[in-house]
């Protein structure tokens, strides 16, 4: 991964006179030149609306857009009919809450969510439960920051209609046993919604093997543009779902006072989508495939182990991370007693290091972790190096020096 940094123009930037060290990849990732070029090329040569024009560039634009749908399907082990483009993983999850949840969740039903969830895979279910008088139940964590599957087993019953779980936490980095969670839910007849935002760009995903019902993720966390999300809906569930947005493109026929809608994934894509974003997302997938997800996962693990070893040298630092490497993705949260995470982030920024600090859109989880002020979070990707972690150590020493710890 030595020469990879040069593929990312933004990494040439200086911050406070220092080379930018970007360790906020769980928020969003940087974009390689090929993705930037794909955006410019699309607008320069093929820009047109899709699925409606019969002129040349509209057909070109449609082909390029649909090509990416196939590419995404292949990337996650699904079929193209199961792939819906949205604007974000958040929109994808909200789509399920409306298009499936409104119809299938009733008073007294139970929805189970895990304690690891980002607000995006928690709040839509809180709202749905409130509106439908359904009951929300939470899978707790063990002391080792992994999901307590025994407790999960006890929560499951014939009343369970839906289980919502992240594939990887954006705070602790915990990788959850999605396949097992799905199998257990399906025994009681519940559907499973998986938030794959943190995992898809870092480790191979095969939805045919995982067997989940809904799966959401975003392009921008895997080197694609912002404004493109993906929702996978297992093909046999499409017909039981209603559209969640109405407008152009998703209709079959419209009269003055009524309309009929297209079937399959088409009925969920109303309005002009982020066409250029989707096309450039294809270039991001090509880039990942060229490097290989297995290599990315190995690189993540190597950096995580190196960073954990470094932090372990400082007794003032508390890490919130599962003990086993196989349970943890490319995310490492830590806190220092007596220093607010925002102050850590400010001092890191003086060293050119970009990290996220605070509650990470997972307030209930931070409360449970005993970190009500939040954590400082390092999150890695392919362009990060051990040298970056060495610079983190220099900045960390500065934090401890300033705060006399």
């Amino acid at each position: 991964m030595q020469n990879i940094k040069s593929d990312f123009p933004i990494l040439k930037r200086k911050i406070n006179g220092k080379a930018l060290i970007y360790l906020d990849n769980a928020s969003t990732t940087q974009k390689p030149k090929t993705v930037l070029k794909a955006l410019v090329d699309f607008y320069s040569t093929s820009n047109a609306n899709i699925h409606r024009g019969i002129h040349t560039i509209s057909e070109e634009a449609t082909d390029k857009y649909e090509e990416v749908r196939k590419k995404v399907a292949k990337f996650i082990g699904a079929t193209e009919e199961e792939i819906i483009f949205t604007k974000s993983a958040t929109e994808s999850i909200n789509c399920v809450a409306v298009a499936w949840g409104q119809k299938h969740i009733n008073a007294g039903d139970e929805i189970i969510v895990s304690a690891l969830e980002h607000h995006a895979n928690l709040v839509p279910w809180q709202e749905l439960a409130k509106n439908k008088k359904a009951i929300l139940k939470i899978i707790p964590l063990t002391a080792n920051y992994i999901l307590d599957t025994d407790a999960y087993q006890k929560l499951l019953s014939a009343k369970t209609k839906l289980v919502c779980v992240t594939a990887q936490s954006n705070v602790t980095g915990t990788i959850t046993p999605v396949k097992k969670i799905v199998e257990m839910a399906h025994i009681v007849g519940a559907k499973v919604m998986v938030d794959g935002a943190q995992s898809v760009g870092h480790t191979p995903t095969n939805l045919t093997s995982l067997g989940c019902d809904f799966f959401a993720f975003s392009a921008h966390k895997m080197m694609g543009p912002t404004g493109v999300g993906v929702l996978y809906i297992r093909s046999d569930l499409m017909n039981e779902m209603t559209p969640f947005m109405y407008g152009g493109e998703m209709i079959e026929s419209v009269q003055e006072k009524s309309a009929t809608y297209r079937t399959g994934h088409w009925k969920f894509e109303a309005g002009t989508p982020n066409i250029a974003g989707v096309v450039a997302y294809g270039a991001a997938i090509d880039y990942i495939n060229k490097i290989g997800l297995k290599n990315i996962a190995d690189h993540d693990k190597e950096l995580l182990a190196y960073a954990k070893k470094m932090l372990a040298r400082y007794p003032q630092v508390k890490v919130f991370s599962p003990s086993k490497p196989q349970d943890t993705g490319a995310v490492l949260s830590f806190a220092i007693d007596g220093v607010h995470p925002h102050d850590i982030a400010t001092i890191f920024n003086d060293h050119g290091i970009a990290i996220r600090s605070g509650l990470h859109c997972a307030e209930p989880l931070l409360q449970k972790l005993g970190a009500p002020n939040g954590t400082a979070r390092l999150s890695f990707y392919i362009y990060n190096t051990k040298k970056d972690i060495d610079t983190v150590e220099i900045a960390l020493k500065k934090v401890l020096k300033i705060f006399k710890l």
């Binding site: 102050d343 003086d350 605070g358």
Partner: protein
């Protein structure tokens, strides 16, 4: 651009006027939802003057030091004077440059004070 000056750190680690007042005339809690910083501010007012101030807070060095320094300034001042305090007065007290991302931290105490006085 070192914002962690000795003065700031001293106020953060040893805040002045820390602790709730026994019988405050007014008390208010101000909260920064973006980062969870929180300040409870108690004032004991005698006629038109703040006689005593106490606060209980939790947050970053900037928000807590700013409150501590502001509390030093507030005690014994007339309400009419305090009502006129502006953000730039707080930045002057702090004596550092506050980046846009940290203005909410720096002004948390001032917001709590203004909520109390209005």
């Amino acid at each position: 651009m070192d914002i962690y000056t000795e003065t700031i750190l001293d106020h953060y680690q040893h805040p002045h006027h820390a602790g709730a007042l026994g019988k405050p005339t007014i008390s208010t809690t101000e909260h920064n939802p973006l980062c969870g910083d929180v300040i409870r501010l108690d004032l004991k007012i005698n006629k038109d003057t703040v006689e005593e101030i106490g606060f209980v807070g939790n947050g970053c060095a900037i928000s807590q030091a700013s409150m501590s320094m502001l509390a030093d300034y507030v005690e014994g001042k007339k309400i009419s004077v305090l009502k006129k305090l502006k953000p730039k007065d707080i930045y002057n007290l702090l004596g550092i440059t506050i980046s846009p991302g940290r203005t909410k931290c720096a002004l948390l105490g001032l917001n709590a004070l203004q909520k109390n006085l209005h």
